[in-house]
């Protein structure tokens, strides 16, 4: 009896190990299979729909106090773009910088940093969550994106707002950083174009002269070194068509989780 059980135990262990090895190889196969990955990516839509269900469009992300600030807020991605266009701006401390807002708008805008700073500002101390897993708390001051979009007047067919950047994280001609958000997030009260961090002018390592803060999504959605903003009805024609630099490299467009 005990021998019988002994054999069956060993068989069970060997069988389990073999099945485990096959399953692992299978998972790698499925990780390379575009069709299967599209099935897995369906969960992105479920996440967006369910998260929008449990909160109103204007529900704020938690805000903190100065006492909660991270002692060191690490810089991620590009910390100093090396494009000529950006270097020229930096040489004059962004005196010649113009934020262009265009695309599907009634009134395209071109604003200097001084003009942006003269507009009503919002300051918020929030937690920045990187898709890698770390978090940092920082204070941000800037103009609400919704305010600028209202001034430009979105056309009815506009569905997304795209941020084009000086950030050449990918290197080469197709390597410029870009990001996109839908109108719910574009008009969220905490969605600002920040020109200051922790009460100081926005450092180059954090996206000077202007970066996006989008407090209900992950860090990669918050483009730095913004050159222009474009209202579009679709982002299919940009980059690889996924709506952003990291999205084109496999990450979810909806970064709420």
């Amino acid at each position: 009896m005990s021998k019988l059980i002994g054999i069956s135990r060993r068989a069970a262990l060997v069988g389990a190990a073999g099945a485990g090895g096959l399953a692992l190889a299978g998972c790698d196969q499925l990780s390379r299979n575009a069709g299967f990955q599209r099935v897995l990516a369906a969960a992105e839509g479920w996440n967006q729909t369910s998260q929008r269900l449990i909160m109103s469009d204007t529900r704020l992300a938690p805000e903190f106090t100065r006492a909660d600030l991270s002692p060191v807020f690490r810089s991620n991605g590009t910390s100093r773009p090396d494009t000529d266009a950006y270097k020229r701006l930096l040489d004059t401390d962004f005196a010649d910088y113009r934020l262009r807002i265009g695309g599907l708008v009634r009134q395209p805008l071109s604003l200097s940093l001084a003009e942006l700073k003269a507009l009503p500002a919002r300051t918020q101390i929030t937690r920045h969550d990187c898709v890698e897993g770390w978090s940092a708390i920082g204070g941000w001051t800037g103009v609400q994106l919704g305010l600028l979009l209202k001034a430009a007047g979105l056309l009815p067919q506009a569905r997304y707002v795209v941020f084009h950047c000086y950030d050449n994280l990918g290197g080469g001609p197709g390597g410029l950083y870009y990001e996109s958000v839908d109108l719910v997030d574009a008009f969220h009260p905490q969605t600002i174009l920040a020109y200051a961090m922790n009460g100081q002018p926005l450092p180059v390592s954090h996206g000077a002269p202007l970066r996006v803060r989008l407090e209900r999504q992950l860090g990669y959605k918050m483009a730095k070194y913004i050159a222009s903003i474009e209202a579009v009805d679709s982002f299919a024609h940009m980059g690889q068509g996924k709506g952003g630099f990291w999205e084109d490299r496999g990450y979810a467009w909806y970064g709420g989780i």
């Binding site: 009896m1 019988l4 059980i5 069956s8 135990r9 069970a12 262990l13 399953a23 692992l24 998972c27 790698d28 990780s31 390379r32 990955q37 099935v39 897995l40 990516a41 369906a42 969960a43 992105e44 479920w46 996440n47 998260q51 449990i54 909160m55 529900r59 704020l60 992300a61 938690p62 903190f64 909660d68 991270s70 002692p71 060191v72 807020f73 690490r74 937690r127 969550d129 990187c130 898709v131 890698e132 897993g133 770390w134 978090s135 940092a136 708390i137 407090e215 209900r216 999504q217 992950l218 990291w246 490299r249 496999g250 990450y251 979810a252 709420g256 989780i257």
Partner: protein
């Protein structure tokens, strides 16, 4: 086999919903553990509190987990997240079916809540387990007090995995900021998610050791077909 086969009886042990949800849960948890370690590898350090990054004090910093225990086996955070967040939905829907079934059919009350007599025999049950002396025959038909505690414990751990996972979502934190208060901040939730995950691995190891000790074929068969063979009592 010297045993008297006439006393060998077959009973119906596990309900259909229990069996189906058990195996779906096995698949979902294995995939979530392995894709979770892939996600962990993107920043293999853990912190307490609201924030935590490279320059902050960590309580745990590891080398990356090896490829044979991650999905995919190469480093690929985007693909790991896709696996993880898809099977999180499988886990949640499957778990809800299991929970509703357990409450409605009285499965939890009848089979998982320890009886008063079992609480009184707690010490004896611990002694028997330490001597690897497991209930045999018809006595094995009912879960003993330690089994019940282990199963109820994992029924608490699994929802905690979901809750700490959701607390890492910036959107969920906007919707339900009380989750941050409950777990002590996002980085604490991330640390607890890691600790609870390995606690579940611990449960599974004990579960498998007990399965091997009590008879793996009978055990696995009962979770597939529902039928459990009651081995005859040994006679002196």
């Amino acid at each position: 086999m010297k045993a008297d086969t006439s006393t060998r009886t077959v009973v119906h042990r596990h309900g259909l919903v229990t069996r189906i949800t058990h195996w779906i849960n096995v698949v979902a948890l294995v995939i979530m553990l392995m894709s979770g370690l892939q996600i962990f590898n993107a920043h293999p350090a853990l912190y307490w509190g609201a924030y935590g990054a490279n320059f902050d004090p960590h309580w745990l910093a590891l080398k990356k987990f090896p490829g044979w225990i991650t999905i995919p086996s190469w480093q690929d955070l985007a693909t790991g997240r896709r696996w993880h967040l898809f099977f999180a939905w499988v886990f949640v829907v499957n778990g809800l079916v299991y929970l509703v079934n357990g409450f409605v059919t009285g499965h939890f009350r009848r089979h998982l809540l320890p009886t008063r007599a079992q609480w009184r025999g707690f010490g004896g049950s611990v002694r028997d387990h330490l001597r690897l002396k497991f209930p045999k025959g018809s006595e094995a038909l009912e879960y003993n007090v330690l089994q019940k505690i282990a199963y109820l414990g994992v029924l608490v751990l699994l929802p905690l995995m979901l809750a700490t996972g959701l607390t890492m979502s910036p959107a969920v934190d906007a919707a339900w900021p009380w989750l941050l208060d409950l777990f002590g901040g996002r980085q604490s939730a991330r640390s607890l998610h890691f600790i609870f995950a390995w606690s579940i691995v611990g449960f599974v190891i004990v579960h498998l050791v007990a399965l091997l000790a009590a008879g793996p074929i009978n055990g696995v068969r009962s979770m597939i077909t529902g039928r459990w063979v009651v081995e005859p009592e040994e006679r002196p």
